[in-house]
């Protein structure tokens, strides 16, 4: 009897404690975004749909332009910066379209939206996954362009990496939002570039101008203005697009 009285409450307390210990605690915004980005990267590495398409488009464009222009009329240094950023923009669009496409096929998006995570985490996770793809394409394409166009940029490789990162963030911030908006529409492949490209103009212009100055051997401080423009664009559009996503996700 007395043993039961002692044992009873102890067992209840232990069960309650165990339940409390095993109670799900939803992940933070950063953790949830990382989970989504990692899942997207695993899916992409297994299917290689967007990555291979983006790499093929990028490398083929570099090679085709090499044969299409007369190097005695226009120097490679004058042509390459603008050309590279146009190529990155269009190849990046392939990945941006794919990011939300993988959620649509079997309505996995409903499971994401039904998870107890902030809507912003979905946007951030998708943007991170897109950024990884864009940076990977740049990592392969920039050395390829240097070889094909016979450019020497070893001394500016770090600042060039900075431009690539800043411009990549800007392209992905806007592209991810428009990818989310257009993915469930009938003509999403057409709508995404039509909507996103006008917003890409400041990024491509700033990135191409800064790249041209670096490749042309101009002092790094001549690029500061363009880098500030890129940084400002990134801050404004990352914040604005993350907020806008929370609105469209609920609608």
């Amino acid at each position: 009897m007395s043993a039961d009285l002692i044992t009873g409450p102890t067992v209840v307390a232990t069960e309650a404690t165990t339940r409390e210990e095993h109670r799900p605690i939803p992940p933070s915004l950063v953790t949830a975004a990382w989970l989504i980005a990692r899942k997207d990267m695993v899916v992409e590495l297994r299917t290689r749909t967007a990555l291979l398409a983006a790499l093929a488009l990028s490398l083929l464009s570099i090679v085709i332009f090499n044969f299409a222009w007369d190097p005695t009329a226009v120097a490679a240094l004058d042509l390459a910066p603008g050309l590279l950023w146009v190529i990155f923009t269009f190849s990046g669009l392939l990945g941006l379209h794919r990011a939300f496409g993988v959620e649509q096929a079997d309505r996995a998006m409903d499971a994401l939206l039904g998870a107890p995570i902030p809507r912003t985490a979905i946007y951030a996770g998708k943007a991170l996954g897109n950024l990884a793809l864009v940076l990977l394409v740049q990592l392969v394409s920039i050395p390829a362009a240097l070889v094909v166009y016979n450019l020497e940029i070893a001394r500016v490789i770090l600042p060039l990496g900075g431009i690539a990162l800043l411009a990549g963030i800007g392209l992905v911030a806007v592209g991810t939002l428009f990818g989310a908006m257009t993915t469930s529409t009938r003509a999403s492949e057409l709508l995404l570039p039509v909507l996103a490209l006008p917003f890409f103009v400041p990024v491509v212009t700033a990135a191409a101008q800064a790249t041209a100055r670096l490749m042309g051997g101009r002092p790094v401080n001549e690029t500061i203005g363009w880098l500030k423009l890129l940084a400002a664009y990134d801050i404004i559009f990352v914040v604005a697009c993350a907020f806008a996503y929370t609105v469209i996700a609920d609608e």
């Binding site: 899916v43 409903d110 039904g114 995570i117 609920d250």
Partner: protein
């Protein structure tokens, strides 16, 4: 206290009201089987209660939290819809584990394996979902929806694609969840499966609830089917 409550819940698409002033309450341990013809608004009602759609008017609460309600409401809901909501390139285990991590389930891998075991598909845990049959995919879908031990289960045709063994396993699992205190809203065209699990029965027609009664009042399945046909053709 009811875990699922709706009061004059309405959702319109343009001029058409897919869900029209619906009132309902489902307490823990209850299972409401919801029947209705195609286009009656059953799926829209489920999506409203899952927080995936905003109501045009009226209110809904899940576990006391007003919807859409944010993370607190979504944490207690498990949703199974027409589609599998899975990633074909990931394995069954990876799909369920991903859902477990998004819900913050401790020991997500073990919990995912446990959920797959509950649906008798643990032996296919490392198989990519695209390589599974539709029935096996449905079992993974159910495991994904149950992995965080939801207190509210919203089920839209959960028996789709399942063979007899799969249907029995799912029915037993759902009955067990109800006994553990979960509230179930089951949308199905399979009257026998629905009536077997239900504690309450409802029929939707043109966005409204045309019948809502305790299961015991519905009688035998054949008699209920006759009444159902009269209601939807009225």
């Amino acid at each position: 206290m009811a875990l699922v409550e709706a009061a004059a819940l309405t959702r319109a698409f343009g001029n058409r009201r897919a869900v029209d002033r619906i009132d309902l309450a489902i307490a823990g341990g209850e299972c409401l089987a919801l029947f209705g013809p195609n286009g009656a608004g059953k799926t829209t009602l489920l999506r409203l209660l899952a927080g995936l759609l905003r109501p045009t008017a009226g209110q809904a609460r899940v576990d006391g939290v007003a919807l859409p309600g944010g993370a607190a409401a979504r944490a207690v809901v498990g949703l199974i819809s027409h589609q599998t909501m899975l990633y074909p390139a990931l394995t069954a285990l990876e799909n369920v584990e991903f859902a477990a991590r998004l819900h913050g389930v401790p020991n997500a891998t073990a919990a995912a394996r446990g959920a797959l075991g509950r649906l008798a598909i643990a032996d296919r845990a490392d198989t990519p979902v695209r390589a599974l049959s539709r029935g096996m995919q449905q079992r993974v879908t159910v495991a994904r929806a149950l992995v965080h031990s939801p207190r509210v289960l919203l089920l839209d045709e959960p028996f789709t694609g399942l063979d007899d063994a799969g249907s029995s396993t799912l029915a037993e699992t759902l009955a067990e969840l109800a006994r553990e205190g979960a509230a179930l809203l089951l949308v199905t065209h399979d009257v026998r499966e629905g009536l077997a699990l239900a504690t309450h029965v409802a029929v939707m027609r043109r966005g409204s609830i045309a019948l809502h009664e305790p299961r015991i009042a519905s009688g035998e399945p054949d008699a209920f089917v006759r009444r159902y046909r009269e209601i939807v053709s009225a």
